[in-house]
Protein backbone atom coordinates (compact mmCIF):
# COMPACT_ATOMS: atom_id res chain seq x y z
CA UNK A 1 0.00 0.00 0.00
CA UNK A 2 2.42 2.70 -1.15
CA UNK A 3 1.15 6.18 -0.46
CA UNK A 4 4.09 8.03 -1.98
CA UNK A 5 1.85 10.37 -3.93
CA UNK A 6 -0.10 11.25 -0.79
CA UNK A 7 3.00 11.85 1.27
CA UNK A 8 4.49 14.01 -1.50
CA UNK A 9 1.28 16.02 -1.45
CA UNK A 10 1.55 16.43 2.33
CA UNK A 11 5.09 17.78 1.85
CA UNK A 12 3.73 20.19 -0.76
CA UNK A 13 1.04 21.30 1.70
CA UNK A 14 3.65 21.97 4.39
CA UNK A 15 5.85 23.89 1.93
CA UNK A 16 2.95 26.07 0.86
CA UNK A 17 2.02 26.83 4.44
CA UNK A 18 5.60 27.82 5.23
CA UNK A 19 5.69 30.10 2.19
CA UNK A 20 2.47 31.67 3.42
CA UNK A 21 4.03 32.04 6.89
CA UNK A 22 7.00 33.79 5.28
CA UNK A 23 4.69 36.25 3.49
CA UNK A 24 2.75 36.97 6.69
CA UNK A 25 6.00 37.60 8.60
CA UNK A 26 7.20 39.89 5.81
CA UNK A 27 3.93 41.81 5.92
CA UNK A 28 4.33 42.37 9.66
CA UNK A 29 7.93 43.51 9.08
CA UNK A 30 6.72 46.06 6.46
CA UNK A 31 4.10 47.33 8.93
CA UNK A 32 6.68 47.79 11.67
CA UNK A 33 9.14 49.49 9.30
CA UNK A 34 6.32 51.86 8.43
CA UNK A 35 5.82 52.59 12.13
CA UNK A 36 9.49 53.01 12.96
CA UNK A 37 10.40 55.18 9.99
CA UNK A 38 7.04 56.82 9.29
CA UNK A 39 7.29 55.37 5.79
CA UNK A 40 4.12 55.35 3.66
CA UNK A 41 5.84 53.18 1.03
CA UNK A 42 6.08 50.39 3.58
CA UNK A 43 2.35 50.75 4.31
CA UNK A 44 1.66 50.30 0.60
CA UNK A 45 3.76 47.12 0.60
CA UNK A 46 1.59 45.73 3.41
CA UNK A 47 -1.57 46.37 1.39
CA UNK A 48 -0.03 44.71 -1.69
CA UNK A 49 1.13 41.71 0.31
CA UNK A 50 -2.37 41.11 1.60
CA UNK A 51 -3.44 39.96 -1.87
CA UNK A 52 -0.71 37.31 -1.89
CA UNK A 53 -1.72 36.14 1.58
CA UNK A 54 -5.38 35.86 0.59
CA UNK A 55 -4.50 33.84 -2.53
CA UNK A 56 -2.25 31.50 -0.55
CA UNK A 57 -5.00 31.14 2.08
CA UNK A 58 -7.49 29.91 -0.53
CA UNK A 59 -4.99 27.63 -2.31
CA UNK A 60 -3.83 25.93 0.89
CA UNK A 61 -7.41 25.30 2.03
CA UNK A 62 -8.23 23.89 -1.39
CA UNK A 63 -5.29 21.48 -1.36
CA UNK A 64 -6.06 20.42 2.22
CA UNK A 65 -9.69 19.79 1.34
CA UNK A 66 -8.68 17.76 -1.72
CA UNK A 67 -6.41 15.59 0.41
CA UNK A 68 -9.13 15.02 3.00
CA UNK A 69 -11.60 14.02 0.30
CA UNK A 70 -9.31 11.96 -1.90
CA UNK A 71 -6.93 10.31 0.54
CA UNK A 72 -8.97 9.78 3.72
CA UNK A 73 -5.95 10.46 5.93
CA UNK A 74 -5.63 8.90 9.36
CA UNK A 75 -3.78 9.52 12.62
CA UNK A 76 -0.72 11.79 12.31
CA UNK A 77 -1.56 12.64 8.69
CA UNK A 78 -5.12 13.58 9.59
CA UNK A 79 -3.88 15.70 12.47
CA UNK A 80 -1.37 17.41 10.17
CA UNK A 81 -4.04 18.40 7.65
CA UNK A 82 -6.40 19.66 10.35
CA UNK A 83 -3.51 21.63 11.89
CA UNK A 84 -2.57 23.11 8.50
CA UNK A 85 -6.14 24.29 7.89
CA UNK A 86 -6.20 26.02 11.26
CA UNK A 87 -2.68 27.48 11.01
CA UNK A 88 -3.58 28.73 7.54
CA UNK A 89 -6.50 30.69 9.01
CA UNK A 90 -4.26 32.11 11.75
CA UNK A 91 -1.63 33.26 9.25
CA UNK A 92 -4.29 34.95 7.18
CA UNK A 93 -5.41 36.79 10.30
CA UNK A 94 -1.78 37.79 11.01
CA UNK A 95 -1.82 39.37 7.53
CA UNK A 96 -5.06 41.19 8.42
CA UNK A 97 -3.51 42.50 11.64
CA UNK A 98 -0.51 43.79 9.67
CA UNK A 99 -2.96 45.62 7.39
CA UNK A 100 -4.71 47.13 10.44
CA UNK A 101 -1.36 48.30 11.80
CA UNK A 102 -0.40 49.82 8.42
CA UNK A 103 -3.75 51.66 8.27
CA UNK A 104 -3.20 53.12 11.73
CA UNK A 105 0.38 54.10 10.89
CA UNK A 106 -0.89 55.88 7.78
CA UNK A 107 -3.40 57.68 9.98
CA UNK A 108 -0.76 58.70 12.54
CA UNK A 109 1.44 60.13 9.78
CA UNK A 110 -1.29 62.67 8.97
CA UNK A 111 -1.30 63.90 12.58
CA UNK A 112 1.16 66.18 14.42
CA UNK A 113 3.96 64.09 15.96
CA UNK A 114 3.59 63.17 19.63
CA UNK A 115 5.94 61.81 22.28
CA UNK A 116 4.28 58.58 23.42
CA UNK A 117 5.72 56.37 26.20
CA UNK A 118 5.18 53.06 24.38
CA UNK A 119 7.82 50.64 23.16
CA UNK A 120 5.84 49.36 20.18
CA UNK A 121 8.90 47.93 18.37
CA UNK A 122 9.66 45.81 21.42
CA UNK A 123 6.23 44.16 21.58
CA UNK A 124 6.29 43.87 17.78
CA UNK A 125 9.66 42.11 17.94
CA UNK A 126 8.35 39.60 20.47
CA UNK A 127 5.13 38.96 18.51
CA UNK A 128 7.14 38.51 15.33
CA UNK A 129 9.53 36.14 17.09
CA UNK A 130 6.55 34.13 18.36
CA UNK A 131 5.29 33.70 14.79
CA UNK A 132 8.76 32.64 13.62
CA UNK A 133 9.20 30.24 16.52
CA UNK A 134 5.78 28.64 16.03
CA UNK A 135 6.55 28.15 12.32
CA UNK A 136 9.99 26.71 13.21
CA UNK A 137 8.22 24.31 15.55
CA UNK A 138 5.96 23.36 12.65
CA UNK A 139 8.90 22.80 10.27
CA UNK A 140 10.71 20.62 12.78
CA UNK A 141 7.63 18.93 14.23
CA UNK A 142 8.98 20.12 17.60
CA UNK A 143 6.28 20.24 20.29
CA UNK A 144 8.75 21.45 22.96
CA UNK A 145 9.62 24.50 20.90
CA UNK A 146 5.90 25.12 20.37
CA UNK A 147 5.41 24.94 24.13
CA UNK A 148 7.88 27.86 24.55
CA UNK A 149 5.66 30.04 22.37
CA UNK A 150 2.75 29.51 24.75
CA UNK A 151 4.84 30.85 27.63
CA UNK A 152 5.92 33.96 25.67
CA UNK A 153 2.30 34.92 25.05
CA UNK A 154 1.92 36.00 28.69
CA UNK A 155 4.78 38.47 28.20
CA UNK A 156 3.07 40.02 25.17
CA UNK A 157 -0.22 40.30 27.06
CA UNK A 158 1.55 42.07 29.91
CA UNK A 159 3.26 44.53 27.56
CA UNK A 160 -0.02 45.29 25.81
CA UNK A 161 -1.66 46.07 29.15
CA UNK A 162 1.21 48.42 30.05
CA UNK A 163 0.90 50.28 26.75
CA UNK A 164 -2.87 50.51 27.18
CA UNK A 165 -2.48 52.08 30.62
CA UNK A 166 0.22 54.46 29.42
CA UNK A 167 -1.88 55.57 26.45
CA UNK A 168 -5.01 56.07 28.56
CA UNK A 169 -2.93 58.21 30.93
CA UNK A 170 -1.58 60.17 27.95
CA UNK A 171 -5.11 60.79 26.66
CA UNK A 172 -6.09 61.98 30.11
CA UNK A 173 -3.05 64.23 30.60
CA UNK A 174 -2.69 65.50 27.01
CA UNK A 175 -6.07 65.30 25.32
CA UNK A 176 -4.65 67.03 22.23
CA UNK A 177 -2.75 63.77 21.51
CA UNK A 178 -5.75 61.51 22.00
CA UNK A 179 -5.88 60.32 18.39
CA UNK A 180 -2.17 59.50 18.30
CA UNK A 181 -2.38 57.68 21.65
CA UNK A 182 -5.47 55.82 20.52
CA UNK A 183 -3.73 54.64 17.35
CA UNK A 184 -0.76 53.35 19.33
CA UNK A 185 -3.09 51.64 21.78
CA UNK A 186 -4.85 49.91 18.88
CA UNK A 187 -1.53 48.94 17.27
CA UNK A 188 -0.53 47.32 20.58
CA UNK A 189 -3.80 45.39 20.52
CA UNK A 190 -3.12 44.30 16.93
CA UNK A 191 0.30 43.04 18.00
CA UNK A 192 -1.17 41.27 21.00
CA UNK A 193 -3.62 39.55 18.63
CA UNK A 194 -0.66 38.45 16.49
CA UNK A 195 0.80 36.88 19.62
CA UNK A 196 -2.51 35.06 20.11
CA UNK A 197 -2.36 33.75 16.54
CA UNK A 198 1.20 32.53 17.14
CA UNK A 199 -0.09 30.79 20.28
CA UNK A 200 -2.85 29.13 18.26
CA UNK A 201 -0.27 27.95 15.70
CA UNK A 202 1.91 26.53 18.48
CA UNK A 203 -1.09 24.72 19.97
CA UNK A 204 -1.87 23.24 16.55
CA UNK A 205 1.73 22.03 16.23
CA UNK A 206 1.42 20.29 19.61
CA UNK A 207 -1.88 18.75 18.49
CA UNK A 208 -0.26 17.49 15.29
CA UNK A 209 2.88 16.11 16.92
CA UNK A 210 1.53 14.74 20.20
CA UNK A 211 -2.15 14.22 19.46
CA UNK A 212 -2.88 16.37 22.51
CA UNK A 213 -5.32 19.26 22.73
CA UNK A 214 -3.71 21.92 24.93
CA UNK A 215 -6.07 24.76 24.09
CA UNK A 216 -7.67 26.84 26.82
CA UNK A 217 -5.20 25.65 29.42
CA UNK A 218 -6.36 22.04 29.18
CA UNK A 219 -4.35 18.98 28.17
CA UNK A 220 -6.56 16.33 26.59
CA UNK A 221 -5.05 13.44 24.68
CA UNK A 222 -7.54 12.94 21.88
CA UNK A 223 -9.36 9.72 21.09
Amino acid sequence: MSRTRFHDALDELKDRLLRMGGIAEQSLAYAMNAYRHGDRQQCALVFETEQAINSAHREIDELALDLLAMQQPMAVDLRLIVAVIKINADLERVGDQAVNIAQRVAEVLDLPPAELPADVPLIAGIASQMIRQSLDAFVRGDADLAQNVLVTDNEVDRMKREIEQAMLAKMHDSPEFTRQALDVLLIARNLERIGDHATNIAEDVIFWVRGADVRHGKVDVIG
Partner: protein, 252 residues
Protein backbone atom coordinates in the same frame (compact mmCIF):
# COMPACT_ATOMS: atom_id res chain seq x y z
CA UNK B 1 -28.00 -10.77 23.60
CA UNK B 2 -24.30 -10.55 22.88
CA UNK B 3 -21.72 -11.73 25.36
CA UNK B 4 -18.20 -10.70 26.32
CA UNK B 5 -15.30 -12.67 24.92
CA UNK B 6 -12.12 -13.07 26.92
CA UNK B 7 -9.13 -14.38 25.06
CA UNK B 8 -6.09 -15.31 27.10
CA UNK B 9 -2.62 -16.13 25.77
CA UNK B 10 -3.97 -17.52 22.53
CA UNK B 11 -1.37 -19.26 20.38
CA UNK B 12 -2.05 -20.85 17.02
CA UNK B 13 0.03 -22.90 14.64
CA UNK B 14 -0.06 -24.24 11.13
CA UNK B 15 2.26 -27.25 11.40
CA UNK B 16 5.36 -25.96 13.14
CA UNK B 17 4.76 -22.32 12.20
CA UNK B 18 3.36 -20.29 15.08
CA UNK B 19 1.05 -17.65 13.58
CA UNK B 20 -0.40 -16.19 16.80
CA UNK B 21 2.05 -15.54 19.61
CA UNK B 22 -0.01 -15.36 22.76
CA UNK B 23 -2.80 -12.89 22.16
CA UNK B 24 -4.89 -11.71 25.11
CA UNK B 25 -7.86 -9.47 24.53
CA UNK B 26 -11.24 -8.61 25.98
CA UNK B 27 -14.00 -8.21 23.40
CA UNK B 28 -16.97 -6.21 24.67
CA UNK B 29 -20.49 -7.53 24.33
CA UNK B 30 -22.92 -5.69 22.08
CA UNK B 31 -20.17 -3.74 20.41
CA UNK B 32 -18.38 -3.99 17.09
CA UNK B 33 -14.71 -4.85 17.33
CA UNK B 34 -12.59 -4.52 14.21
CA UNK B 35 -9.39 -6.45 13.63
CA UNK B 36 -6.97 -4.78 11.24
CA UNK B 37 -3.46 -5.51 10.08
CA UNK B 38 -1.46 -6.39 6.97
CA UNK B 39 -1.89 -9.70 5.15
CA UNK B 40 -0.46 -12.57 7.12
CA UNK B 41 -0.67 -10.77 10.48
CA UNK B 42 -2.93 -13.45 11.98
CA UNK B 43 -6.20 -11.53 12.07
CA UNK B 44 -8.26 -14.16 10.22
CA UNK B 45 -6.61 -16.93 12.21
CA UNK B 46 -7.54 -15.05 15.37
CA UNK B 47 -11.25 -14.90 14.61
CA UNK B 48 -11.23 -18.47 13.29
CA UNK B 49 -9.92 -19.52 16.70
CA UNK B 50 -12.92 -17.86 18.36
CA UNK B 51 -15.34 -20.37 16.82
CA UNK B 52 -12.99 -23.34 16.46
CA UNK B 53 -12.71 -23.01 12.69
CA UNK B 54 -8.91 -22.90 12.83
CA UNK B 55 -8.73 -26.53 13.82
CA UNK B 56 -10.54 -27.60 10.64
CA UNK B 57 -7.25 -27.09 8.77
CA UNK B 58 -5.00 -30.21 8.90
CA UNK B 59 -1.90 -29.66 11.11
CA UNK B 60 -3.49 -26.58 12.74
CA UNK B 61 -3.19 -26.32 16.53
CA UNK B 62 -4.38 -23.88 19.20
CA UNK B 63 -3.36 -23.19 22.81
CA UNK B 64 -4.70 -20.73 25.32
CA UNK B 65 -8.22 -19.96 26.38
CA UNK B 66 -11.23 -18.40 24.72
CA UNK B 67 -14.04 -17.64 27.12
CA UNK B 68 -17.29 -16.74 25.43
CA UNK B 69 -19.96 -15.46 27.79
CA UNK B 70 -18.76 -17.71 30.59
CA UNK B 71 -18.01 -20.95 28.75
CA UNK B 72 -14.59 -22.03 27.59
CA UNK B 73 -14.61 -22.74 23.88
CA UNK B 74 -11.68 -25.13 24.17
CA UNK B 75 -12.35 -26.99 27.37
CA UNK B 76 -14.22 -30.08 26.25
CA UNK B 77 -17.02 -28.11 24.61
CA UNK B 78 -17.97 -29.75 21.28
CA UNK B 79 -16.87 -27.52 18.37
CA UNK B 80 -20.37 -27.66 16.91
CA UNK B 81 -21.80 -26.07 20.06
CA UNK B 82 -19.20 -23.31 19.89
CA UNK B 83 -20.05 -22.62 16.26
CA UNK B 84 -23.76 -22.43 17.05
CA UNK B 85 -23.06 -19.72 19.61
CA UNK B 86 -20.48 -18.01 17.44
CA UNK B 87 -21.70 -17.51 13.87
CA UNK B 88 -19.47 -16.58 10.98
CA UNK B 89 -19.79 -14.74 7.69
CA UNK B 90 -17.04 -15.00 5.12
CA UNK B 91 -15.49 -12.72 2.52
CA UNK B 92 -17.18 -14.34 -0.44
CA UNK B 93 -20.92 -14.87 -0.06
CA UNK B 94 -21.47 -18.61 0.02
CA UNK B 95 -25.20 -19.41 -0.06
CA UNK B 96 -26.08 -23.04 -0.69
CA UNK B 97 -26.56 -22.73 -4.46
CA UNK B 98 -29.26 -25.34 -5.00
CA UNK B 99 -31.41 -24.28 -2.05
CA UNK B 100 -34.15 -21.68 -2.07
CA UNK B 101 -33.71 -18.46 -0.10
CA UNK B 102 -35.97 -19.90 2.58
CA UNK B 103 -34.02 -23.16 2.84
CA UNK B 104 -30.72 -21.32 3.00
CA UNK B 105 -31.85 -19.52 6.14
CA UNK B 106 -33.56 -22.58 7.60
CA UNK B 107 -30.67 -24.98 6.91
CA UNK B 108 -28.91 -24.53 10.24
CA UNK B 109 -32.16 -24.83 12.17
CA UNK B 110 -33.13 -28.04 10.39
CA UNK B 111 -29.69 -29.48 11.13
CA UNK B 112 -30.36 -28.71 14.79
CA UNK B 113 -33.58 -30.70 14.63
CA UNK B 114 -35.97 -27.80 14.23
CA UNK B 115 -39.05 -29.18 12.44
CA UNK B 116 -42.14 -27.06 13.18
CA UNK B 117 -43.12 -25.34 9.93
CA UNK B 118 -44.69 -22.39 11.74
CA UNK B 119 -41.65 -21.86 13.96
CA UNK B 120 -39.35 -22.17 10.96
CA UNK B 121 -41.39 -19.56 9.06
CA UNK B 122 -41.13 -17.24 12.01
CA UNK B 123 -37.36 -17.62 12.46
CA UNK B 124 -36.71 -17.29 8.72
CA UNK B 125 -38.70 -14.06 8.58
CA UNK B 126 -37.09 -12.67 11.73
CA UNK B 127 -33.58 -13.54 10.50
CA UNK B 128 -34.19 -12.02 7.07
CA UNK B 129 -35.58 -8.88 8.70
CA UNK B 130 -32.55 -8.60 10.98
CA UNK B 131 -30.35 -8.98 7.90
CA UNK B 132 -32.32 -6.18 6.18
CA UNK B 133 -33.22 -8.52 3.33
CA UNK B 134 -36.85 -9.45 4.06
CA UNK B 135 -38.51 -6.72 2.01
CA UNK B 136 -36.41 -7.57 -1.04
CA UNK B 137 -37.07 -11.32 -1.03
CA UNK B 138 -40.36 -11.97 0.79
CA UNK B 139 -42.25 -12.61 -2.46
CA UNK B 140 -39.74 -15.13 -3.82
CA UNK B 141 -38.64 -16.93 -0.67
CA UNK B 142 -39.29 -20.44 -1.87
CA UNK B 143 -39.06 -20.20 -5.62
CA UNK B 144 -35.76 -18.39 -6.02
CA UNK B 145 -32.39 -19.87 -5.19
CA UNK B 146 -29.95 -18.08 -2.96
CA UNK B 147 -27.44 -18.03 -5.79
CA UNK B 148 -29.80 -15.98 -7.98
CA UNK B 149 -29.51 -12.94 -5.70
CA UNK B 150 -27.03 -10.09 -6.22
CA UNK B 151 -23.67 -10.25 -4.41
CA UNK B 152 -24.81 -7.85 -1.71
CA UNK B 153 -28.09 -9.70 -1.22
CA UNK B 154 -26.23 -13.02 -1.07
CA UNK B 155 -24.01 -11.65 1.68
CA UNK B 156 -27.04 -10.48 3.67
CA UNK B 157 -28.59 -13.92 3.08
CA UNK B 158 -25.47 -15.48 4.61
CA UNK B 159 -25.81 -13.11 7.56
CA UNK B 160 -29.48 -14.14 7.94
CA UNK B 161 -28.40 -17.79 7.82
CA UNK B 162 -25.84 -17.16 10.56
CA UNK B 163 -28.40 -15.28 12.68
CA UNK B 164 -31.10 -17.95 12.32
CA UNK B 165 -29.46 -20.25 14.86
CA UNK B 166 -29.49 -17.38 17.37
CA UNK B 167 -25.79 -16.99 18.04
CA UNK B 168 -24.42 -14.63 20.66
CA UNK B 169 -21.42 -13.62 18.61
CA UNK B 170 -21.12 -12.87 14.91
CA UNK B 171 -17.70 -13.07 13.28
CA UNK B 172 -17.27 -11.39 9.92
CA UNK B 173 -14.18 -11.98 7.81
CA UNK B 174 -13.97 -9.18 5.21
CA UNK B 175 -17.74 -9.28 4.72
CA UNK B 176 -17.91 -6.43 2.22
CA UNK B 177 -14.64 -6.70 0.33
CA UNK B 178 -16.30 -8.30 -2.70
CA UNK B 179 -19.21 -5.85 -2.78
CA UNK B 180 -19.91 -2.55 -4.55
CA UNK B 181 -20.14 0.65 -2.46
CA UNK B 182 -23.96 0.59 -2.16
CA UNK B 183 -24.02 -3.01 -0.98
CA UNK B 184 -21.09 -2.24 1.32
CA UNK B 185 -23.03 0.65 2.88
CA UNK B 186 -25.99 -1.69 3.47
CA UNK B 187 -23.76 -4.25 5.17
CA UNK B 188 -22.20 -1.52 7.31
CA UNK B 189 -25.63 -0.20 8.33
CA UNK B 190 -26.58 -3.74 9.16
CA UNK B 191 -23.48 -4.28 11.31
CA UNK B 192 -24.39 -1.14 13.24
CA UNK B 193 -27.88 -2.48 13.93
CA UNK B 194 -26.72 -6.02 14.73
CA UNK B 195 -24.59 -4.95 17.66
CA UNK B 196 -27.75 -4.25 19.62
CA UNK B 197 -28.35 -8.00 19.76
CA UNK B 198 -24.96 -9.55 19.13
CA UNK B 199 -21.27 -9.14 19.78
CA UNK B 200 -19.71 -8.45 16.40
CA UNK B 201 -16.07 -9.02 15.47
CA UNK B 202 -15.08 -7.96 11.99
CA UNK B 203 -11.83 -8.50 10.13
CA UNK B 204 -11.27 -5.87 7.48
CA UNK B 205 -8.51 -4.59 5.24
CA UNK B 206 -10.50 -1.45 4.68
CA UNK B 207 -9.47 0.94 7.42
CA UNK B 208 -12.15 3.46 6.58
CA UNK B 209 -14.65 0.67 7.09
CA UNK B 210 -13.18 -0.18 10.48
CA UNK B 211 -13.32 3.51 11.38
CA UNK B 212 -16.96 3.72 10.26
CA UNK B 213 -18.37 0.63 11.93
CA UNK B 214 -16.24 -0.38 14.90
CA UNK B 215 -16.40 0.76 18.51
CA UNK B 216 -12.99 -0.75 19.24
CA UNK B 217 -10.18 -1.64 16.91
CA UNK B 218 -7.29 -4.06 17.35
CA UNK B 219 -4.14 -3.85 15.26
CA UNK B 220 -2.31 -7.11 14.64
CA UNK B 221 1.19 -7.45 13.24
CA UNK B 222 3.07 -10.69 12.57
CA UNK B 223 0.97 -12.68 14.99
CA UNK B 224 1.02 -10.16 17.82
CA UNK B 225 -1.68 -7.83 19.08
CA UNK B 226 0.10 -4.49 18.90
CA UNK B 227 -2.59 -2.07 19.99
CA UNK B 228 -6.23 -2.33 21.00
CA UNK B 229 -8.26 0.72 21.89
CA UNK B 230 -11.32 2.77 21.08
CA UNK B 231 -11.60 3.17 17.34
CA UNK B 232 -11.41 6.97 17.43
CA UNK B 233 -8.17 6.74 19.38
CA UNK B 234 -6.62 4.22 16.99
CA UNK B 235 -7.42 6.32 13.93
CA UNK B 236 -6.62 9.77 15.29
CA UNK B 237 -3.81 9.29 17.78
CA UNK B 238 -2.60 5.70 18.09
CA UNK B 239 -0.12 5.08 20.89
CA UNK B 240 2.18 2.70 19.04
CA UNK B 241 4.39 3.87 16.18
CA UNK B 242 3.79 0.61 14.30
CA UNK B 243 0.02 1.19 14.36
CA UNK B 244 0.51 4.73 13.13
CA UNK B 245 2.86 3.64 10.35
CA UNK B 246 0.38 1.00 9.21
CA UNK B 247 -2.77 3.11 9.20
CA UNK B 248 -1.03 6.02 7.51
CA UNK B 249 0.22 3.69 4.79
CA UNK B 250 3.90 3.98 5.66
CA UNK B 251 4.22 0.22 5.54
CA UNK B 252 2.05 -2.80 4.80
Amino acid sequence: MGVNIDVCDLRAWFGSAEVLHGVSMHVRSNAVTAIIGPSGCGKSTFIRCLNRMHETVPTARVRGSVNIGGFNAYNGTPAVDVRRRVGMVFQKPNPFPTMSIYDNVAAGLKLNGFRSRRDLDEVVERSLRMAALWDEVKEVLKNKSGASLSGGQQQRLCIARALAVQPEVLLMDEPASALDPISTAKIEDLIYQLKERFTVVIVTHNMQQAARVADSTAFFLMGDLIEYDKTEKIFTAPADKRTEDYITGRFG
